[in-house]
């Protein structure tokens, strides 16, 4: 890109989009499964599990980052397993930034998805079961399509939030230009080093992306269909 100002490095933007995209996919699958358990099952310690899931929303990023370092660091069990599988440690790689983004966005998604799934009228699911449909079939053909709009809206929020993580990423992925430096970290770096133009451009890109995602989220969050009560 010869016409672009030479002082702007686009790597952080692409990395951030990739990290947020992968994190969103992970949260969508895992988070929807957890939200389904919370909304449709009764088990001991359910509300405790809900509190645990909410915890990352209120803890400072440094605390979360610290936990991740302990949990996934080179000397931890999980860290060892990861290293033997992929031949490199997890911490201070861009993959660690994905883990950070997941931790940053999953609580909001799961809490929202639980509400969305609970709002699907149970009668549709009962009817499906009574017709002989398995739980998976009921979920994939009835519950999910009826919750689709709500979940998509949450996914777009989740993507925006993944894009915006700074603290946890700093702690576990660090600030290695060209390797782990995401957009929000790059902004911090640009401001620190007095690169005003870079900071301004990245801040504007970040704000515009977030705004578009929020607009999409609110467009999608119109209520899902429910049974009519006319006669």
């Amino acid at each position: 890109m010869p016409s672009a100002p030479s002082s702007i490095d686009w790597f952080p933007l692409w990395l951030s989009l990739r990290v947020a995209g992968i994190a969103t996919l992970i949260v969508l699958t895992l988070g929807t499964a957890i939200a389904y358990l919370l909304s449709h099952k009764t088990f001991r310690g359910k509300e405790a599990a809900d509190s645990l899931i909410t915890l990352p929303l209120v803890l400072p990023p440094t605390v979360l980052g610290y936990y991740l370092l302990v949990l996934l660091g080179r000397n931890s069990g999980l860290g060892h397993i990861y290293q033997s599988l992929f031949g490199q440690p997890l911490v201070f790689t861009w993959q660690a930034a994905v883990v950070a983004a997941v931790l940053h966005s999953a609580p909001i998604y799961i809490k929202g998805a639980r509400t969305v799934l609970e709002a699907v009228d149970y009668r549709f699911e009962w009817v499906a079961h009574s017709l002989g449909a398995s739980e998976w079939r009921t979920f994939s053909r009835i519950t999910l399509p009826l919750a689709w709009r709500g979940l998509s809206s949450l996914a777009s929020l989740c993507f925006a939030r993944s894009l915006g993580d700074f603290g946890i990423t700093m702690m576990v992925a660090g600030n290695i230009p060209g390797r782990t430096q995401t957009l929000s970290v790059a902004i911090f770096d640009a401001v620190e080093s007095g690169n005003g133009q870079m900071a301004r451009v990245l801040v504007l890109i970040m704000s515009a992306t977030a705004l578009i995602l929020l607009w999409a989220a609110s467009r999608l969050s119109r209520p899902t269909a429910r049974p009519s009560h006319n006669g």
């Binding site: 009817v127 499906a128 002989g132 449909a133 398995s134 053909r141 009835i142 006669g231």
Partner: protein
Amino acid sequence: MSSPPIKIDARLLKRLSAGGETEAFELNVHLKSDAATTVLWGASGAGKTLALNCLGGFSTPTEGRILVNDQLYFDGATGVNLPPRHRRCGYMFQDHALFPHMTVRENLKFAAASARHNSRLDKHRRMNDLLEAFDLTDLAQRKPAQLSGGEKQRAALARMLVGDPYLLLLDEPTRGLDARLRQAFYEVLRTTRERSQAPIVLVTHDLEECMQLADHVCLMEAGRFVQSGPREQVFARPATLEVARALGIYNLLPATVSALDPGRDTSSLDIAGSQLQGRYLKGQLIGDQGYLCVRQTEARLLPNIGRREPNQLLLRTTGTVPSAQGVKVLLEYDAAATVSEDEYTHLRGEDVLKLEIPPSAVYFIPKK
């Protein structure tokens, strides 16, 4: 057509502990019926829907045993608890719960694909057959939101029958419908009968509906059956004063047994000094106190002129209220009789009227 009737034998005990705004509740019933249509009738909060949900597998009884057609659905003692999808129970809600994101055909297709018995071809044939039988062929491509109330009823019934269920569970299917749609529903229910051998268990608080549809009636109150049996028997012979009062279609007058003649199969009741002839009362003694129970529609109200014939009581009027069928004349002892507007012109202004009760309608409920 000559296959033996499907029997339901369900002993259900379900305790719900108090929590939040709900009070503790105990459902304790024994539903035994081989009738084509069994109606659970009762006020809201009587436990009708809970009983239905236990049959369908959506609520697990605390104790009990559910047998449908020799198939064990639930047994508290041995821990058998068939999940809803293995029970082959058609379930229908008041608002039909058609899947809103699917067309009528897709709704039926979902049912066909979900059913785990019968061959693919069979199910496909049955689906088309049902679309036709319920007059849905032209509506098959429509989504539920584009259907009228009556069309939704038909689609929901057809969907329920695709999987060839053993048992049909209907939870207040006509609540909130106007009289015309209600009647239309009873009509399609007849189509349902022709297409399926499965017995229907229907929950309602509507007495008219109960009368129209039921072969077997279970009257429910506070989680219990206060009376159950064939419809004619239950309505002709309410077991207790409380049942008769709850049904609200009887005149109940305090009475004393004054004569008994088993040879001639006659008896006599003394009601405030007037004698009323009826059939012999088995198990009663002269002097027994209780209530005369007679269907309001079986008693005739006449002006108090001319000689008093046998089986005519003189009762003071206490007022009138307009009714859908004419005029409801209120009498002492909380009795009432409904007459047409025309008949009422002959009764207007009278303080005392004659209530004629044919001997065949005389039924005596002894005091406990």
